[in-house]
């Protein structure tokens, strides 16, 4: 009995296997991909730092490099420090959006000579203190730093120990806020939210529930298209006013965001290097692509294609 059963099962299995083994298209039938232009570009290692604006830069540059230059683009998701480290070890060719980072410039461009600058991206980085739009509307004078002490009590939270809370965010960026609070004699305490995610969520809540919030923020930034934050005016920036970190009492400078490439990549004569060097666009351009990615949830590739198709003239200028 058992033997019959076994034989039957085996027979059925063999039949089933034979059937599944003979139908369907074979792998490699439709010779997909594998048509690398003239091969002069080769592999292009592009660092992607962890914020959406950068993701937008990288999406567009990678798209153009791939489709117009025939490069094989390898995107590497890395924090700034680690990406710069990669210049020396040959694992990163380019960083597309650098915010200041004078310490890294000194270390890798001046001292180790493993990196070189590849010019401005055209984006202007504005750092400062921002409030949600409802607050600026309800209390228009809040955008002047001189009035901040008047409202300090409204900004109190469970974290700020009786003072107003100034919410600082992502530790990646340089902040002078502790010194600013002291030197402008503001009755505030700097509270560290610890990440861009935490900051954005805080602003989102504040706007939705009409809560009081003032914090450190920056643009270009995709979130501005969702909640257009209003910047508070600090004493105007003048060259040199931030020379002594402990005595700073002025606003942040406007950063011209720039591109950094590895020295090896700059010498290589790769067409991808020319592309990176020529890459130049505005805050509006970046915000648009960032919005495609973050708000409309498009893939990097699709977002880049949409923008490139609509802005062929700008792309052509990068390819010259």
């Amino acid at each position: 009995m058992a033997r019959h059963w076994r034989a039957g099962a085996a027979g059925l299995t063999v039949l089933g296997l034979a059937l599944t083994g003979c139908v369907g298209a074979k792998v490699g039938d439709t010779a997909a991909g594998a048509k690398n232009a003239d091969g002069s570009c080769g592999t292009f290692n592009l660092a992607v730092n962890p914020w959406v604006g950068y993701q937008a830069d990288a999406a567009v540059v990678a798209y153009v490099a791939q489709h117009d230059l025939g490069c094989k683009v390898t995107k590497k998701n890395l924090k700034e420090e680690i990406a710069w480290q990669g210049f020396g070890t040959g694992e990163v060719d380019a960083v597309l959006e650098n915010w200041g980072h004078d310490d890294l410039k000194k270390k890798y461009i001046t001292d180790q000579k493993t990196a070189v600058s590849a010019g401005q991206t055209g984006n202007k980085g504005v750092i400062g203190w921002w409030v949600p739009p409802w607050l600026a509307k309800a209390h228009p004078d809040i955008t002047d730093w001189r009035n901040l002490n008047k409202y300090a009590a409204n900004f109190r939270t469970s974290e700020s120990g009786g003072k107003g809370q100034l919410l600082d965010g992502d530790p990646s960026y340089v902040t002078n806020d502790a010194a600013l609070v002291t030197n402008l004699k503001l009755n505030y305490k700097v509270v560290y939210a610890g990440s861009e995610t935490a900051l954005i969520q805080a602003y989102r809540n504040a706007e939705k529930n009409k809560q009081w919030l003032i914090g450190y923020f920056y643009e270009p930034q995709w979130f501005m298209t969702e909640v257009p934050l209003v910047k508070v005016d600090l004493p105007a920036y003048t060259p040199g006013c931030d020379a002594d970190a402990a005595k700073i009492a002025c606003d942040y400078p406007v950063y011209g965001l720039d591109k950094i490439v590895s020295a090896r990549f700059a010498r290589s004569g790769s067409p991808a290097y020319q592309l990176v060097k020529n890459f130049h666009w505005t805050n509006e351009d970046q915000n648009l692509v960032a919005k495609y990615i973050a708000v409309d949830k498009m893939s990097d590739e699709a977002a880049a294609k949409k923008w490139v198709d609509a802005n062929r003239d700008k792309v052509e200028a990068w390819l010259k």
Binding site: V52, K76, D103, V191, T197, N205, A294, K297
Partner: protein
């Protein structure tokens, strides 16, 4: 403890009259009095941007190592070789299941083959139930639209676990055989498990470059210690009589190891493998920060645009993978046990079935290698889209309807408990807190615990981050209290009812392996960027461990004891408070110990959502070059806090057992 007091009787000295709770109370009162007098003096505060000379020195060391990378022979001939070997391993596994290779647009083995292998192996080492679970779980990845990501994660996890076991099991055997080796190894293992990964991520990529090797090595550092510890424990647990019997038969040391010790400890060693796999999966999102491919990357990227749905979908895949691997290895451990005991009727059937299954699987692998439908998962992952949009809806609803309540809870706990306690810790002179900790160590854990506490306090001051350390300690303590409350309530409930246990346990497993990054955004919406958010995140991660341990302890209270009290007419409440919890106090102490260690491992995650202090220092050190040294010092401070509390609670546990 009552029994001990009875026997000591009339000859009790003053030491025995002063009970431990009284001594603890006295210490705390003394602390409060001195705090009132000395408040605000010698608090050793350090501003967020300030550095000490130690921090600068650590920066210099880091720079020097980086600059010497291309010329140092250690790098050229040692680290590079390791990197190459591991890179080859990772690339090989990836080419099998996750990445296109050798002119093929798809990996060597397609989804059907992988599902077949997963089912077959699960059945071969476990049983048909876990095999079904494995097949369902792996198919689910495909339906979620995350097949390739899941396979990348699986490839990295398998490579890391393989390396961890290659290193861990021999070391574990050694530590199991030699007391000295065990003593030397323990602090290193503590260090590997409690040092925040963020601290060594950047130097690691400097040494092993960006790529698979670094991701695997990061994971191995965190995942190897459980394998080592559990193997050592397994070897030590083999009954001495068995070893002596083997000795008397004249076996050599080698024979003893291979024929007696290893076979007898097989079951426990497999549990070590299980823990290693779980630890490796816990590193998936962290490794994504250095470009490790897979599910972690999906989570991290979704978080940049606060896309909770997508992050949840990927997090769910990690949970499913963890549960499948956990159940399969647990079943394998069970089989190792039963196979040794029974070995009867089934064995005759097993051989032919195994062979047939093997042939079938080989065929599936062949099909998936050759045909497109079996190579690329069909469909476009609509299930994943549904899960994502469902998660989005759920979180939005929670945020809209609960934020009033959650803010109230936050304020009660922050103003009522956290703020006063933090003030007490940070505004007391450092030496006063230090003395209190040492005294508590002495009372609860004895002389050696006191010495450890003193050393840790001294080193903590040395890191230059005393004040931040105390802020973190306050949050950690509050989180641990909440963990223990939850642990007691759910642990007792689960321990008393097998049904509740069955229902709750999968949720606990999910809470333990779901990457914290996934639930940070909803928590931020509910509680704001505050220390309390960090506490809640830590509780979600740490409570399951405490609950499981307490449930286990309650269940192990002898049936006869409970029945005896029931027959006397005790109420349920009396049974729990007078019998089950006191008898399970060993489990309670262990739960406190593990709860605290798990809470500490979330300090860095807390730094991302508003906890400030040590967690923020570590995150900032990872992000800004000039703060690197400070971040490293903060990481050390976290390790010191962990070691101090581990030693005190362990010593206390030994005492309650004695």
């Amino acid at each position: 403890m009552a029994a001990v007091a009875d026997t000591s009787g009339p000859v009790a000295t003053w030491r025995q009259k002063v009970t431990r709770p009284m001594a603890v109370g006295a210490i705390l009162v003394a602390w409060l009095v001195l705090f009132a007098v000395l408040r605000g003096r010698q608090t050793l505060t350090l501003a967020a941007a300030d550095l000490t000379s130690l921090h600068r020195w650590l920066n210099d060391v880091n720079d020097t190592v980086g600059a010497g990378r291309d010329s140092n022979p250690l790098f050229l001939y040692f680290f590079n070789e390791i990197r190459l070997a591991i890179d080859h391993l990772v690339t090989f596994v990836q080419s099998l299941i996750s990445q296109p290779t050798a002119g093929r647009p798809v990996p060597q083995i397609g989804w059907l083959g992988v599902v077949g292998i997963a089912g077959y192996l699960s059945w071969a080492v476990g049983n048909w139930r876990v095999a079904l679970l494995a097949v369902a779980g792996f198919t689910f990845f495909g339906l979620q639209g995350l097949w390739q990501e899941s396979m990348d994660t699986l490839a990295l996890t398998l490579s890391a676990v393989l390396v961890a076991l290659l290193i861990g099991i021999p070391l574990g055997v050694w530590a199991g055989l030699s007391d000295r080796c065990n003593k030397i190894m323990t602090p290193f293992l503590d260090f590997m498990q409690t040092m925040p990964t963020f601290v060594y991520l950047a130097p690691l990529t400097l040494v092993f470059l960006i790529g698979g090797a670094s991701a695997v090595i990061t994971t191995v550092i965190y995942a190897a210690p459980p394998a080592i510890r559990i193997t050592a424990h397994a070897i030590r647990s083999v009954p001495a009589t068995t070893v002596e019997a083997a000795d008397s038969l004249g076996t050599t040391r080698r024979q003893q190891l291979l024929k007696v010790l290893l076979p007898l400890s097989q079951r426990t060693v497999v549990m070590g493998v299980n823990q290693t796999i779980m630890a490796a999966l816990a590193m998936v999102t962290i490794a994504a920060l250095i470009d490790a491919p897979g599910l972690g990357k999906t989570v991290v990227q979704a978080l940049q645009s606060l896309d909770v749905g997508t992050a949840f979908n990927a997090g769910l895949a990690i949970v499913v993978m963890a549960i499948v691997l956990d159940r399969v290895t647990t079943a394998a451990a069970g089989r190792a046990d039963t196979a040794r005991r029974t070995g009867g009727a089934l064995v005759r059937w097993r051989r032919p079935l195994l062979a047939a299954g093997g042939i079938g699987t080989a065929f599936l692998v062949y099909v998936s290698h050759t045909y497109v439908y079996a190579a690329e998962f069909p469909g476009d992952g609509t299930a994943g889209t549904h899960i994502a949009s469902w998660a989005d809806t759920a979180t939005t609803w929670l945020q809209d309807h609960l934020s009033g309540l959650t803010n109230a809870v936050r304020d009660v706990i922050t103003y009522g408990l956290l703020n006063p306690f933090q003030t007490l810790l940070t505004d007391s002179p450092w030496w006063l807190v230090g003395l209190t900790l040492v005294a508590l160590g002495a009372v609860l854990g004895g002389r050696r615990a006191a010495v450890t506490a003193a050393v840790c306090v001294g080193l903590l001051v040395g890191t230059g981050l005393w004040s931040d350390g105390m802020t973190t300690l306050a949050s950690t303590a509050v989180a641990t209290v909440l963990v223990m409350l939850l642990g007691a309530v759910f642990g007792v409930w689960m321990g008393r009812s097998a049904l509740v246990d069955r229902l709750v346990r999968p949720t606990l497993d999910a809470a333990q392996v779901m990457p914290p990054f996934v639930y940070l955004v909803p928590f931020l919406a509910l509680f704001g960027a505050t220390r309390f958010t960090a506490i809640v995140a830590a509780v979600v991660y740490a409570a399951p461990v405490a609950i499981k341990i307490i449930a286990d302890g309650v269940r192990n209270v002898p049936e006869s004891t409970v029945e005896a009290t029931t027959s006397v007419g005790c109420t349920t409440w009396q049974i729990i408070t007078k019998v089950q919890l006191p008898v399970a106090r060993g489990a309670l102490t262990l739960a406190t110990n593990q709860g605290l260690i798990y809470v500490l491992s979330m300090v860095v995650v807390g730094g991302l959502v508003g906890a400030g202090a040590l967690g923020y220092d570590v995150v900032a050190g990872f992000s800004q070059g000039q703060l690197y040294g400070k971040g490293l010092a903060a990481g050390l401070a976290i390790v010191l806090l962990g070691v101090m509390f581990d030693r005190i609670t362990q010593a206390a546990a030994r005492r309650t057992r004695a």
